[in-house]
């Protein structure tokens, strides 16, 4: 069998929910594939659409955005909604750029959902593996 494709994935995780959830996954020793490299942001609303496009341009095969659950979990009140609106816009932009929209994923992961983070990470890596490397 040929060597399995190891996708590069950039994961923008908000400090209060998704990154704290990733910390909990660690504390609970829940295993997931090492392909995601986490970048901690204060809020998912800080993620400029350009960051996501830049990640794809620079070699990422997938981008994960993790924020706080809607409607009310966001530490900054409405940041998750702003992230969601940008996600919808990004989907369209990716489509136009010929990049499969499945390569971008937005998930609400709370600080207590370590298990969800591990599951999302595992499934996302599998999905990108199926899609193969992003052709540039």
């Amino acid at each position: 069998m040929s060597k399995q494709f190891e996708p590069k994935i950039v994961a923008f995780l908000c400090k209060w929910c998704a990154s704290a959830g990733a910390d909990l996954a660690g504390v609970s020793r829940l295993k997931y594939p090492p392909n995601l490299v986490p970048l901690r942001v204060l809020c998912s609303s800080r993620i400029d659409p350009q960051f996501v496009l830049d990640a794809f341009e620079k070699g990422a095969d997938g981008v994960l955005i993790g924020g706080c659950h809607t409607p009310n979990d966001c530490h900054y009140i409405t940041g998750n909604f702003k992230a969601y609106k940008r996600y919808l816009m990004l989907e369209k932009m990716l489509e136009e750029a010929g990049i499969e929209t499945e390569r971008l994923r937005l998930e609400w992961i709370s600080a207590t959902e370590g298990r969800k983070l591990a599951e999302v990470a595992t499934r996302f890596v599998e999905r990108i593996q199926k899609l193969g490397p992003l052709k540039r």
Binding site: G26, V37, C43, R46, F51, A60, I77, T112
Partner: protein, 651 residues
């Protein structure tokens, strides 16, 4: 001068070093043009490790420090303080999380090392870009809000108030006291619950620093540590509490009967009632859900007989708005709904009761005056069975252990045997857990002194015999024999579930765990702090716990709250937004993005109110001209970090 970065990589014993090749990373990172120093050590957070950082700052003239270790939520403050003591601005120190988000979740040494190295390099880029920042000081509203008037909330409120800080205690029911007020005696000393609780309740009532709001709920909260703005909905009591003299004439004439919540529905009360005689505030209240419409034309019997003229049907709901510097959450627990556990016949068999109902049956102020009679025919009980873990430790209901049930069941059995010495008490248990001072001895006493019979078994059902008695069907796990035991009454040791709406958790921005209990920042080192700074948690809403633990935790929250409320000014994180005035076009899009109202446009330029800004960065990614930035989280930095994370290093 170009940046001089020191990288310090922690082994964390074997926690990191067993899955990440720390030596290799320490060596390779020195190839980075700005990294002038790198070191690895077994425990970077120890005093020796911190000294390594301090020494290197001085000897290598470091301008930036990166510690690759655990999550920044654990030790960022530790290392920032160490840097500060060596003369480096604390904001020039960052942490790379290679434990929780790397070594602990991966097995493959090579891949984990590669990932750790990417994380570290991205953070090196960040710390190089970071600017030294000075703290911003903001004023503190010297008032504390305590939500929940059970024993935990009462203790917390008293401790804060006794330190001279005004407290507002919010309780949703007509009286404070909470679950503890319902209990008969407490384990392991068999102190009467009311006798130790009611003096504290009275202290709250008369404390000059405590404002008590009963029949009230927090409906919204905003702001930040030191300055929360809270809205409270206060429902009308329809009785002027300062005028009511507790004569009770009103309740005698009230024609409406409703189930008595305080007696866990074993009894009835009237629509105008006082939950129990020692209630605080000591005043009757009208339950507007059952009262005949609060229309004096329909029924005004109570108004007619009330001599001090305390009843006012025209009272209306009030919204109270106030500011607080700290918030304590102590909303307590509910018993697991036994209706869910169909196999034990609750609801079908009247003489199957839950633990809180049994507390009321045991209580001298309860429906039977403390005599143990069963609900169906009021017959005295001679044989009784207790089923432990009713709901708890059962994957069909609650996965967790409710912690207090083993002890309260031993208490129930002892109290039963004290009142019915010739009676028989059986306890069906899976395991008996008695960790606590004097707890094991108490449980032993139940068996040796009071002859309570413990049977290791999880009963599979309870049915009603022809004689009308509940029958327990079980298998004794120690003898492997089937048991069918007919008793007069069955008590289910129901588990503990959190009592707080998701709305309140959302308003306060505090995370709940998978079971709905409030999650603390760190289970061992920061056990009463919530993710939202300035919000603290105590009592059973944090997880099942007994009275002594709740009280201890409540005092801990008071001490934590006081560490904020005793200061005139506290530190406001200086990581906030900044405007490049030359680039700003005054469009005002940032104003709509800002959830805090921290931005206004003056003379065609956006300006930021520093104390209101929290640094979320929503304005930055909205700004069309690139004028807005968040300090130490600039776009340029992100692009560098993305390069490292995506695997294309410029170094």
């Amino acid at each position: 001068m170009s940046e001089r970065v020191g990288v310090f990589i922690c082994h964390c014993g074997r926690n990191i070093a067993s899955t990440v090749d720390v030596k290799k990373i320490a060596q390779e990172i020195t190839k980075h043009s700005n990294v002038v120093h790198s070191e690895d050590y077994k425990y970077m957070c120890s005093e020796i490790g911190q000294k390594m950082v301090r020494d290197a700052i001085k000897s290598k003239k470091l301008t930036s420090v990166l510690v690759a270790a655990c999550s920044p939520s654990l030790h960022e403050q530790t290392f920032r303080k160490a840097c500060e003591s060596a003369g480096l601005n604390p904001f020039k120190c960052e942490m790379a999380n290679i434990r929780e988000q790397c070594s602990w979740v991966h097995d493959d040494l090579e891949k984990a090392t590669d990932k750790a190295s990417k994380i570290i390099r991205s953070m090196v880029d960040k710390v190089i870009d970071d600017k030294p920042l000075d703290a911003i000081m903001v004023g503190v509203t010297k008032k504390c809000l305590v939500i929940g008037g059970g024993i935990a909330g009462i203790q917390s409120a008293l401790d804060v108030a006794n330190a001279g800080i005004p407290v507002t205690l919010v309780e949703k029911s007509p009286t404070i006291g909470g679950r503890m007020a319902q209990l008969s005696e407490t384990f392991p000393t068999l102190d009467c619950a009311q006798c130790i609780l009611t003096p504290k309740m009275a202290e709250v009532a008369h404390h000059p620093n405590i404002q008590l709001l009963t029949l009230s709920e927090v409906i919204s909260a905003s702001g930040y540590v030191g300055n929360f703005h809270v809205k409270i909905r206060a429902k009308p009591r329809y009785v002027k509490q300062e005028t009511c003299n507790l004569c009770g004439d009103c309740t005698e004439v009230c024609p409406v009967f409703a189930l008595n919540e305080f007696d866990e529905s074993l009894n009835v009360r009237r629509a105008i009632y006082i939950p129990f005689p020692q209630a605080v505030p000591s005043s009757f209240a009208i339950d507007d859900a059952t009262c005949l419409g609060l229309n004096p034309l329909v029924c005004a019997k109570c108004i007619d007989v009330c001599e001090p003229k305390a009843i006012d049907p025209d009272m209306s709901e009030k919204i109270i708005e106030d500011d607080f510097g700290a918030i304590v959450v102590a909303t307590g627990y509910d018993a697991y709904p036994k209706e869910n556990i169909g196999e034990y016949g609750y609801g079908l068999i009247e003489d199957v009761v839950d633990s809180l109902q049994f507390e009321r049956i045991l209580s001298s102020t309860g429906p039977t005056g403390g005599e143990i009679r069963r609900p169906s025919d009021k017959k005295p009980v001679n044989t009784i069975a207790f089923i432990q873990c009713a709901g708890s430790r059962d994957k069909n209901y609650l996965n967790y252990c409710s912690k207090v049930c083993c002890m309260y069941t031993a208490k129930h059995a002892i109290l039963f045997k004290q009142r019915v010495p010739q009676g028989e008490a059986y306890v069906f248990y899976i395991d008996v857990r008695t960790p606590g001072k004097g707890y094991e001895e108490f449980y032993q006493r139940a068996q040796t002194e009071h002859n309570v019979i413990y049977i290791k078994s999880k009963p599979n059902k309870v049915y009603l015999s022809r004689k009308g008695n509940p029958v327990i069907v079980a298998v004794d796990l120690l003898t492997n024999r089937k048991i069918e035991l007919e008793v007069d009454m069955v008590v289910l040791a129901t588990g503990i579930v959190p009592s707080m709406g998701k709305d309140l958790a959302s308003e306060l921005k505090i995370p709940l765990d998978e079971n709905g209990f409030v999650q603390e920042v760190h289970p061992k080192l920061r056990p009463v702090e919530c993710a939202s700074e300035g919000v603290f948690v105590c009592g059973a809403i944090h997880g099942p716990k007994d009275i002594s633990e709740s009280v201890a935790q409540a005092s801990a929250t008071a001490s934590k709250a006081l560490s904020i409320l005793s200061k005139d000014k506290i530190l406001h994180e200086p990581i906030i937004a900044e405007v490049a005035e030359k680039l700003c076009i005054g469009c005002g899009l940032c104003i709509t993005a800002c959830p805090y109202g921290a931005i206004k446009v003056e003379e065609n330029v956006a300006r930021i109110t520093e104390v209101l800004c929290t640094g979320c960065g929503a304005c930055v990614s909205t700004c069309p001209s690139g004028a807005m930035k968040v300090r130490n989280f600039e776009d340029k930095t992100f692009y560098e970090m993305i390069s490292e994370a995506a695997g294309v290093s410029s170094h």
